[in-house]
């Protein structure tokens, strides 16, 4: 069945071709038939035309001969009347027609001529018996003038008695004068031939080409290659019978009509040929015209076909494009439908998961609160239950945060907050977060930093943290106990001198992923396993969030994974480099110009040298302790020394310490859990520096060693101030939340007055004495009057403290935009719900400081 349409198409094509051939065949036949008919008619016309022309010439010559004969008869009569006929002859002057006039009287053999000499009939041949209108005519001969001539003789009779014979010699040239100057545009050839001798006696001027056989009939036929025996026989027949003859024969490769035309009953013949084209000039034009018309028709026909074809091709192209568009459209629709279905399914699954995931901690919370009520008297149980409730609550909170994050990213509301940060800080905090997690699962975590030239960068450090935490926590999650996790920060070749090109690789040897799952790993609401059947908990949104953030930063994320072999996540980011002028000054101020670094790894040495490049400090990197010691003994100067603990251990540290001057501090480069590092710390003027090496870390440590703080590092988390004795006005519509707040503040030794909405809060503040409230804690979403309006209203109050009393937003709207909106409304700080007392304390302290500083 598959071949059928093709066969049909082929059959259709063949029948079309066949039809075209038939049409052309018919057309060709008609053209051929018309042309042939025209050719035949033209041939008839040519023969007729030539016959008429020859008839005309024949008539002319015969008329001349008749006149000559008649004239001669008249002269004979004149002579008969003359007294002295011979004297009459002698007196007669020759003229253009008659070259010689002679008379032989009866009974004599010799006579007289008008040319003066004696005349006899000798040399004149009348034997053929030819006549001109009854008078005998001689065979043609070359006369005394060197021209062809003939003689007609006429009896001279007096009183019925013949007294002599009159001979008149006529030259053929006389005939020439009466003929036209050529015919058929001088393309025709014409000779006058004496039939008896077959000599050509005259070629009239302007008749035919110059190089024809001109001597006699045989020469003419030889020159023109007319050798066909049948034609020659026909010629002989015509000559003897005095008939006319016309036949086609090519003369020098030109088709010609050849003729032999009897004159005067066959005594003289017109011989020659006319090229057919000369006769059929109009015929050639007609033929050319037919050909032009046919060619024009064919050209027009083919032009139409071409135009039709072009149009058809255009239409076909358009049709194909439309079809393609429709197909694409359908495909897109189908894909969209499928995506919608998948999304719907995903969301259903997600909801199902969420339902499960939310219910699980919620179940724990509610269960333990039940147990709490039951075991309220048992403090140990109460502590245990509250800890578990807290854990479940935390999990619930992270779940909700993730969901909100995804929804925000998907709606495009996330804005990056670009600010200066040190790569070291990000890595340190990540290290601090991940280390406990990996330790808990007994996994091996290794951190490498290579090729990074600049560690002070500009970017959204929080979001970078988020990326790293997401990737690493995923790795921890999906790597079994005892597995390995590697974090590599690699400085790639810079594409621009202003940007550091950083590659983050997180590799594990965990469960890995199937190729099918790899395709959907970055889609929201997916998870390697259904959470209802898997012990691994999570929202399944982490990777979607990560990818969205990476792309928001203009970076790329890739993943490579094999089931049971592990996964590799690779993130490429370009972060703007921060000018490090301050760093250079820092070292100069402390007189540090040379640092001795001893590390066995060449990569480390290069890395350290690269990082120190812009600080103005020369780093002398040694591969061995011995080399370092040698350098020191050789007078090498340095203000600080670094030693890789993993490479040289305690012994190396001791050797180097001994070689170093007392005042020069030595820093041991070690991972934060390196074994035995405490022993090294016992060495004189020696401290630890956490791996990987970062200039910022070195600088912070140098600051410590020189008993300074430079203020550029990440500020240490300060112990938040106490709330004891403070009195707050809290606007909170939710009674439970209000109660929790009250209780928590009481725990901290503070008190509060609750207002059920913004208006009441404003009124309460209005009523209060100045200084009665230390701060106002303001929920945002409240009935009657929202937090923002209330804050504005408070700030607008005509009170001395209305402008400066700290108003702290306390809301479940926990995003940066929410914070911004709160600040715009005149509030001083923003603390997200669920409420963390630590954050509240910090916010209040900041507000107090701000107030103090004015």
């Amino acid at each position: 069945m598959k071949g059928t349409p093709n066969k049909q198409k082929k059959r259709k094509g063949l029948s079309l071709l066949f039809s075209i051939v038939i049409i052309f065949g018919i057309f060709g036949t008609i053209v051929f038939a018309v042309s042939r008919r025209i050719a035949e008619e033209m041939s008839d016309a040519a023969i007729q035309s030539l016959s008429e022309s020859l008839d005309l010439i024949q008539s002319t010559i015969e008329a001349i001969l008749r006149s000559e004969a008649e004239f001669q008869t008249l002269i004979a009569q004149e002579i008969a009347r003359a007294e002295d006929p011979e004297e009459y002859i002698r007196a007669y002057e020759k003229n253009q027609t008659m070259a010689k006039l002679s008379l032989i009287l009866l009974g004599e053999t010799e006579g007289v001529s008008n040319t003066g000499e004696r005349f006899t009939e000798e040399g004149l041949d009348f034997s053929a018996g030819e006549t001109v209108f009854g008078l005998p005519v001689s065979r043609s001969y070359l006369n005394y003038m060197g021209t062809w001539s003939y003689t007609i003789k006429c009896p001279v009779e007096r009183d019925g008695q013949e007294i002599g014979t009159l001979y008149a010699e006529y030259v053929y040239d006389a005939i020439d004068r009466s003929l036209p100057d050529g015919f058929y545009n001088q393309e025709a050839s014409l000779y006058i031939m004496d039939a008896e001798s077959q000599r050509f006696v005259l070629k009239p001027k302007g008749m035919g080409q110059r190089s024809a056989g001109h001597l006699n009939l045989a020469d003419f036929y030889r020159a023109n290659n007319i050798q066909d025996p049948e034609i020659r026989a026909e010629v002989e027949g015509c000559l003897s019978a005095g008939r006319n003859l016309l036949f086609y024969h090519e003369i020098r490769e030109v088709n010609a009509l050849n003729y032999m035309w009897a004159v005067n009953g066959g005594t003289v013949f017109l011989v020659g040929y006319v090229p057919v084209e000369a006769i059929q000039k109009e015929g050639r034009t007609v033929n050319q015209s037919i050909m032009i018309v046919v060619a024009s028709l064919l050209a027009a026909f083919f032009l139409c076909i071409i135009l039709y074809y072009l149009n058809w091709r255009q239409q076909e192209k358009l049709r194909r494009e439309q079809e393609e568009e429709r197909r694409l459209h359908s495909q897109q629709l189908a894909e969209a439908l499928r995506a919608a279905q998948i999304a719907s399914e995903s969301k259903t699954t997600f909801l199902s998961n969420m339902s499960h995931d939310i219910r699980t901690p919620m179940n724990a919370v509610l269960g333990f609160t039940t147990l709490l009520a039951k075991d309220a008297e048992n403090p140990a149980k109460v502590r245990e239950y509250t800890q578990k409730i807290t854990a479940s609550g935390q999990h619930l909170l992270s779940l909700i945060n993730d969901i909100l994050d995804v929804s925000k990213i998907e709606s495009g509301k996330v804005v990056l907050s670009l600010e200066k940060f040190a790569l070291n800080d990000v890595i340190s905090s990540i290290d601090a977060i991940i280390q406990p997690m990996v330790k808990a699962k007994g996994q091996d975590f290794h951190l490498e930093v290579t090729g990074v030239r600049h560690e002070y960068l500009v970017g959204d450090a929080t979001r970078i943290n988020q990326i790293l935490i997401n990737l690493l926590s995923t790795a921890v999650k999906y790597t079994p106990e005892g597995g390995q996790i590697r974090l590599r920060i690699i400085g790639l070749k810079q594409r621009s001198s202003q940007y550091e090109h950083i590659r983050i690789e997180v590799e594990d040897n965990g469960y890995g992923m199937t190729p099918e799952y790899l395709k959907t790993i970055f889609d929201a609401f997916t998870r390697a396993e259904n959470s209802t059947t898997n012990k691994v908990q999570g929202t399944g949104l982490g990777m979607a969030i990560t990818k969205s953030i990476v792309e928001l930063m203009g970076g790329t994320i890739e993943v490579f994974s094999e089931v049971d072999r592990g996964s590799l996540f690779r993130v490429d980011l370009e972060l703007r480099i921060l000018e490090e002028e301050a760093d250079r000054r820092f070292w100069e101020q402390r007189g540090v110009s040379r640092i001795l670094a001893v590390t066995g790894s060449r990569e480390s040495r290069e890395n350290m040298t690269a990082l120190m490049q812009d600080t103005g400090v020369r780093l002398d990197a040694c591969a061995t302790v011995e080399e370092a010691v040698e350098r020191l003994r050789g007078g090498g100067d340095c203000q600080m020394a670094l030693l890789d603990w993993e490479d040289f251990g305690l012994q190396g540290a001791q050797s180097l310490r001994e070689a170093l001057p007392e005042s020069v501090p030595m820093l041991i480069l070690a991972e934060f859990d390196a074994e035995g590092r405490e022993e090294a710390l016992r060495l004189n003027h020696t401290d630890l520096l956490a791996k990987p090496f970062f200039v910022s870390a070195l600088r912070a440590k140098a600051g410590e060693l020189w008993n300074e703080t430079d203020g550029t590092g990440v500020p240490e988390a300060e112990e938040a101030g106490s709330l004891a004795g403070m009195h707050f006005l809290a606007a909170e519509d939710n009674e439970i939340n209000a109660e929790i707040l009250t209780e928590l503040l009481e725990i901290e030794g503070a008190s509060c007055e609750i207002a059920a909405n913004g208006r009441l809060a404003v009124e309460s503040f209005q009523r209060s004495e100045p200084g009665e409230f230390d701060a106002i804690l303001m929920d945002v979403q409240m009935p009657v009057m929202g937090g923002h309006e209330a804050a504005k209203a408070i700030r607008a109050l005509d009170r001395e403290d209305a402008g400066r009393i700290p108003i702290i937003a306390m809301t479940a709207n926990a995003f940066a935009e929410d914070e911004k909106a709160a600040l715009s409304a005149g509030m001083d700080a923003h603390v997200p719900k669920p409420l963390s007392m630590e954050l509240l304390k910090k916010a209040i302290e900041q507000c107090s400081k701000r107030e103090e500083t004015g």
Binding site: L142, M145, T147, H214, D219, R252
Partner: protein
């Protein structure tokens, strides 16, 4: 180009085509249907010989001559009307006889004449003096000398005709023969050929055997340094033409006696027609002919063997014989003045250059130089050296070319050498007795 643009151009082209087609249909009919022609064309009649035609060969000589005639026709707006005569056989009047008849009766304007006719008609005053033509100023002196009769330049040729022996060099080489320089060497060559089965080594016709005679007769006269004095002696009767002619006639007699020439056949044979086929077939090693025959396919322009053209044997070595044919204007002709104008163009340097290049011949103009074909080189070398015999000389009171031809025919017909010499004496006596 996008599709819209293509369509636009296509439409414009079609529209233009339609406009052109419609415009071509417009035509205004003239009131008089006979087209106007230039005034009546003047015609000049030329009487010249025409060879019999071989349908397969192109006649180069005629073509070259026609080219110059066409040049004149175009330049002057005249037409040349060709008239011709060729004898059918030896019994017919010769071309020269017809020429004389026609010129004496003022039948034609222009004639292409052989030396004897030039001499005769010139003496009769029937030919125009051509020395006043512009083109005549460029002529070589030899041409002027040979064609001056009674102080009038009566004829001018388009080429200097030189006669020579056409030899089959391959046959000479085959029999170890050198090309002959003297009559004796020539006879020896003939003997060797005859011994080797070539019964008649010399192909002859009734026209050109005189060249042997003239070469031997006048080799010393023209190349001895005393030409003028010797001619004056002949014209005065102090010297006899028969004395000069005798060795050549005796030589011919020997050729006839030894069968080196077929006298009977020669007497009734036209030039080239009789001896040509055998020469071309390699059967006859020696023929005589004019320069142009070496260039013309209808004659000996294309041979299957190595051909060389050398001079006739004489006491001075190989001797070219140069008769002077030429164009002459009949003084009594109807269009004599037009004929003079035509001739002026036909013999102009430009026309002669064209003619000489086409035919590779020696030009009568001092200004025209053309290289000859290799076969003609030996003959050409002699002419360039200034060694030759004039076949005709209008300065001699007895016409040479025609008379010698006629008397050689007597010899061929069986007359003795003595009888032939008597004929010369008679001619000389007649000339001396003329006033």
């Amino acid at each position: 180009m996008n599709t819209a643009k293509k369509h636009k151009w296509l439409s414009i082209c079609l529209a233009a085509l339609a406009v052109v087609s419609l415009a071509s249909c417009a035509q205004e009919d003239p009131k008089n249907l006979i087209s106007r022609e230039d005034g009546e064309k003047r015609a000049v009649n030329l009487f010249s010989p025409m060879e019999k035609i071989d349908p397969d060969a192109e006649n180069v000589a005629r073509t070259a001559s026609d080219l110059t005639v066409a040049m004149a026709e175009e330049a002057l707006g005249m037409t040349m009307v060709y008239r011709t005569y060729t004898a059918e056989d030896y019994q017919d009047k010769t071309y020269d006889e017809v020429c004389l008849d026609r010129a004496r009766n003022d039948m034609d304007d222009l004639y292409l004449l052989n030396p004897d006719a030039i001499m005769a008609l010139g003496a009769e005053g029937k030919l125009e003096d051509l020395s006043g033509l512009d083109s005549a100023k460029n002529l070589r002196e030899i041409i002027r000398t040979a064609n001056t009769v009674d102080g009038k330049l009566v004829a001018i040729p388009q080429e200097v005709v030189a006669y020579g022996l056409f030899v089959n060099k391959d046959l000479f080489d085959r029999y170890g023969l050198d090309l002959p320089e003297t009559p004796e060497e020539f006879l020896e060559c003939c003997r060797v050929f005859q011994e080797n089965g070539i019964e008649t080594p010399v192909g002859a016709n009734r026209w050109w055997l005189e060249t042997f005679v003239l070469a031997q007769a006048y080799a010393d006269l023209y190349n001895g340094g005393n030409t003028q004095a010797e001619i004056e002696a002949l014209n005065s009767g102090e010297a006899r033409y028969s004395d000069y002619m005798r060795p050549g006639f005796e030589f011919l007699q020997t050729l006839i006696d030894r069968g080196y020439i077929d006298a009977e056949k020669a007497l009734v044979s036209e030039a080239i027609e009789a001896e040509g086929p055998d020469f071309l077939a390699g059967k006859t090693p020696i023929v005589m002919a004019y320069w142009g025959a070496a260039n013309t396919e209808t004659a000996y322009g294309k041979t299957d063997f190595t051909m060389e053209v050398i001079g006739f044997p004489s006491s001075q070595g190989q001797m070219p014989v140069m008769p002077m044919t030429g164009w002459a204007v009949c003084s009594g002709a109807e269009h004599a003045q037009d004929a003079m104008k035509m001739l002026d163009v036909i013999i102009s340097d430009e026309a002669l250059q064209l003619y000489s290049e086409a035919n590779r011949v020696i030009s009568p103009s001092e200004n025209v130089k053309v290289e000859c074909v290799p076969a003609l080189k030996p003959l050409n070398d002699r002419i360039e050296e200034g060694v030759y015999v004039l076949g005709s000389n209008a300065g001699m009171n007895v016409e040479q070319w025609g008379n010698t031809c006629q008397i050689v025919r007597l010899l061929l017909g069986g007359a003795s050498v003595e009888e032939c010499m008597a004929a010369f004496d008679e001619l000389q006596d007649t000339a001396l007795n003329q006033p």
